[in-house]
C-alpha cells in the first residue's frame, strides 16, 4: 500500500548528518508495523517521510502506485486529509477548543459549516476512545492519557487508511501508555494500518512486524512478533 524505496535523507546544521542512508520498506494494508531503534537512529525522520510531512533527499515514497515526490501540493493535502493521520508524543491539542471541536478540526478547513453528520462521526470517535461525556471539556481539564485519546480521535475522525504514531506513549506513564497501545491495537484489528515508532521493547509484541533502525539503515525485520510472544 505504501512503499519507501531507497530513501536517503541528511540534515546539515554545522556538519552534515546522514540520517537515512537508503531505506526501503513496505507498509501492508491492515498491518501494525513497529519501528524501533536507538535515539537518533532516524525513526522519526523515516516516519515523517512516510507520512508526507518531510521530503526525502532521494528515493521515493509510493502510495497506491503514485510517487508522492511527484505529487502536487493539493494532492499531498488531500492525502493528509483523507488517507494518512499522525499522532505524536505531545498531543498538539488546541487549548481553547473543546474536545469535540479538537476532534472536528480536520472538518473545520472550509467556509461551509461542519455538517451534523461530521459531528455525529466525531461523537462516535470520542466514544470509541472512551471519552464519552467529556466532549465539552477543554484539553487542560483532561489527563495526559485522555488528551492522547483526543488526538487519536482527531486522527481517526476522517477514517484514514494509515495511522502514523511517533512514540504516542512517550509522555504517558506505563499503565496509561499500555492502554493507548491497546486502543491502537484494537483499531488495527478493525482494519486500520498502524505504523508506530517506539523505543519501549515491550510494545513490540503488539506489532505484526517490527523494523529495527540502526545508523540510518534497517538492520532487521522481525515478523509476527505478536505470535512469537
Amino acid at each position: 500500500m505504501l512503499s519507501a524505496i531507497d530513501i536517503k535523507k541528511s540534515f546539515t546544521v554545522d556538519t552534515t548528518t546522514n540520517v537515512l542512508k537508503g531505506v526501503t520498506m513496505d507498509i501492508l494494508p491492515g498491518d501494525f508495523t513497529g519501528i524501533i531503534g536507538r535515539s537518533g537512529s532516524g525513526k522519526s525522520t523515516l516516519l515523517n517521510i512516510l507520512s508526507t510531512l518531510l521530503r526525502p533527499d532521494s528515493g521515493s515514497v509510493v502510495y497506491k502506485g503514485k510517487d508522492l515526490g511527484k505529487a502536487t501540493v493539493k494532492e499531498i493535502n488531500n492525502i493528509r486529509q483523507n488517507d494518512f493521520s499522525i499522532i505524536f508524543q505531545s498531543f498538539h491539542l488546541f487549548p481553547y477548543l473543546t474536545v469535540l471541536e479538537n476532534v472536528l478540526l480536520p472538518y473545520l478547513s472550509g467556509v461551509i459549516p461542519v455538517s451534523g453528520q461530521s459531528k455525529t462521526k466525531a461523537m462516535q470517535m470520542i466514544e470509541r476512545v472512551g471519552l464519552q461525556g467529556k466532549e465539552n471539556r477543554l484539553p487542560g481539564k483532561l489527563s495526559g492519557g485522555e488528551q492522547q485519546r483526543v488526538s487519536i480521535a482527531r486522527a481517526l475522525v476522517k477514517n484514514p487508511k494509515i495511522l502514523f504514531a511517533d512514540e504516542p506513549t512517550g509522555s504517558l506513564d506505563i499503565k496509561t501508555g499500555k492502554s493507548i497501545i491497546e486502543l491502537l491495537k484494537e483499531l488495527n484489528s478493525e482494519g486500520l494500518s498502524v505504523v508506530m515508532v517506539t523505543h519501549a521493547m515491550e510494545y513490540t509484541k503488539y506489532a505484526d512486524r517490527v523494523i529495527e533502525m540502526k545508523d540510518g539503515n534497517i538492520c532487521g525485520t522481525i515478523n509476527e512478533v505478536a505470535g512469537a510472544v
Binding site: S44, T45, N48, L53, L54, V73, K74, N77, N78, I79, R80, Q81, N82, S85, I86, F88, Q89, S90, H92, F94, P95, Y96, L97, E101, L104, L105, P106, L108, S109, G110, V111, I112, P113, V114, R154, D166, E167, G170
Partner: protein, 388 residues
C-alpha cells in the same frame, strides 16, 4: 462551526489582548474620523469667515474698452457710454446657478458722481445687508445708515470735503444724510460715500441699474472656474472676473488645513497598521505548533492565510465601526466646545459611511496582517514539533 471558528475563538481566548488592540486601533480610527470631520467643518466655516473680508468674483457689463474694475475704478469712464447691468436680473440669476449653495454674497453697486462744495465725489449705492457681509472689517464712527436716505462716508473723503456726521450731500434730485464715518480701511472705500442702492437709483433716475456686482463664492466644493462658467452662462452679456489671487490664497489656507489633517491621519493609520502587524506576528509565532498541526491534517497554505487574515479583519472591522461612531460623537462634541461650525456645517451621521469605514479598515487590516499571515503559511509541521 467552520474555518472562522478558529480565529474567533482565539480572539476570545485572548480577550484582554484583543480588547486592548481593538481599543488602540479604535482610537486611531476615531482620531482620523474626528480630524476629517473637524477639518471639513473648519474648512467650511473658515472659508465662510474669509468671505467676510471681500468678494472673489466680479460681474460687470461687457466692454470693448478697458475693463472697469472696482479696485482702481476709473470714474471718468462712467460719463461716456456706460453700460449697466440689471440689478434684479443679475441678483436672481447669480443666486440661481447650479452651484447656488456656493454663493455666499451678491453685492451689486451703482456708482454715481456728485459734487460737494464744488468738489467731485463718488457715491456708491450698495445693498447694506450684502455689503456688510463682505466688509466685516468696516468700523464706523457714528452709526450705520438706518433710513433709506442715510449714508456713510470714507474717512479720507470726509476729511477732504470737510463733511461731518449729520451733514447733507446733494445727489441727483435728492439729498442724502451722512450718519457715520467709515474709519480708515486702506482701500478705495476711504474715498467714497456709501448710500442705499435703491436711493441712489431713485435720485439719479437709474432704476434697476447697477455698474457691477461683487460676488463672494465658496470654492471648497468646486473650482471657481465652474462657478464663473455658470454665472457666465446665465449672464452672457457680462464680463466676469475671478480674483484668482484671493481665491487661491483662500484655498491654500483651507488646503493647508486639509493637508495637515491628511498627513496626521496617514501617520496615525500607518502606526495602527504597524501595531496590528506586530500583534499578528506575535500571534503567528506563538501559534506555530497549531499551524503545524493544521498543516499535518491537510490544511492548505491559503487556509492558514485565511485564518490569520480573518482574525485581523475582525479586529479591523470592529475598530472601523467603533472608530467611526466614536469619531462622530467626539467631533460633534469638540466642535461644540470650540464653538466652530454653525449653520449648514452639522456633521451627518451616516450608516453607509460607517460600514464603508468598517470595510476599509477591515481591508487595511488584512493588508497589514498579510506579511505575518504569509509567514504563517510557510510553517511546516516538522519545523515546529519539537520531539521530531
Amino acid at each position: 462551526m467552520n474555518i472562522f471558528t478558529l480565529p474567533v475563538k482565539n480572539l476570545k481566548r485572548k480577550l484582554m489582548r484583543t480588547t486592548i488592540l481593538v481599543a488602540v486601533f479604535t482610537v486611531g480610527i476615531l482620531s482620523v474620523v474626528m480630524l476629517y470631520n473637524v477639518s471639513e467643518t473648519i474648512g467650511h466655516s473658515l472659508e465662510k469667515k474669509m468671505t467676510q473680508f471681500g468678494a472673489n468674483v466680479l460681474v460687470y457689463p461687457k466692454s470693448d474698452s478697458l475693463n472697469v474694475s472696482y479696485g482702481g475704478f476709473s470714474l471718468g469712464n462712467l460719463n461716456y457710454q456706460v453700460k449697466y447691468l440689471s440689478e434684479k436680473e443679475v441678483m436672481y440669476k447669480v443666486r440661481n446657478i447650479e452651484f447656488k449653495e456656493n454663493i455666499s454674497t451678491v453685492a451689486p453697486k451703482l456708482v454715481s458722481l456728485t459734487k460737494y462744495d464744488g468738489k467731485p465725489v463718488a457715491v456708491t449705492g450698495v445693498i447694506w445687508g450684502e455689503e456688510t457681509r463682505i466688509k466685516s472689517y468696516w468700523s464706523i464712527d457714528g452709526k450705520m445708515p438706518e433710513q433709506p436716505d442715510e449714508a456713510i462716508i470714507g474717512s479720507r473723503a470726509a476729511e477732504f470735503l470737510g463733511i461731518a456726521i449729520s451733514d447733507s450731500v446733494n445727489l441727483g434730485n435728492g439729498v442724502i444724510k451722512i450718519s457715520g464715518i467709515l474709519q480708515s480701511t486702506g482701500t478705495e472705500d476711504d474715498n467714497l460715500i456709501f448710500a442705499d442702492l435703491h436711493t441712489v437709483q431713485a435720485y439719479t433716475g437709474k432704476q434697476d441699474m447697477v455698474n457691477f456686482v461683487e460676488v463672494a463664492a465658496l470654492c471648497a466644493g468646486c473650482p471657481i472656474e465652474d462657478i464663473v462658467a455658470q454665472i457666465q452662462a446665465e449672464l452672457p452679456d457680462t464680463d466676469i472676473n475671478a480674483l484668482q489671487n484671493i481665491v487661491k490664497q483662500r484655498m491654500s489656507t483651507i488646503n493647508y488645513v486639509k493637508n495637515m489633517v491628511l498627513l496626521v491621519s496617514g501617520v496615525i493609520l500607518v502606526i495602527a497598521c504597524f501595531m496590528l502587524a506586530m500583534f499578528m506576528l506575535a500571534s503567528v509565532n506563538e501559534r506555530k505548533k497549531e499551524i503545524g498541526l493544521l498543516r499535518a491534517v491537510g490544511y492548505s497554505g491559503s487556509k492558514i492565510f485565511l485564518i490569520f487574515g480573518f482574525e485581523a479583519m475582525i479586529i479591523g472591522c470592529l475598530a472601523g465601526v467603533l472608530g467611526y461612531i466614536g469619531g462622530y460623537f467626539s467631533s460633534v462634541e469638540l466642535l461644540a466646545r470650540v464653538n466652530i461650525g454653525g449653520e449648514g456645517t452639522e456633521i451627518a451621521f451616516s450608516a453607509v459611511a460607517m460600514f464603508v469605514s468598517a470595510g476599509l479598515v477591515g481591508l487595511l487590516s488584512v493588508v497589514s496582517a498579510s506579511i505575518p499571515a504569509m509567514k504563517a503559511t510557510k510553517v511546516q509541521p516538522t519545523d515546529v514539533f519539537s520531539e521530531i
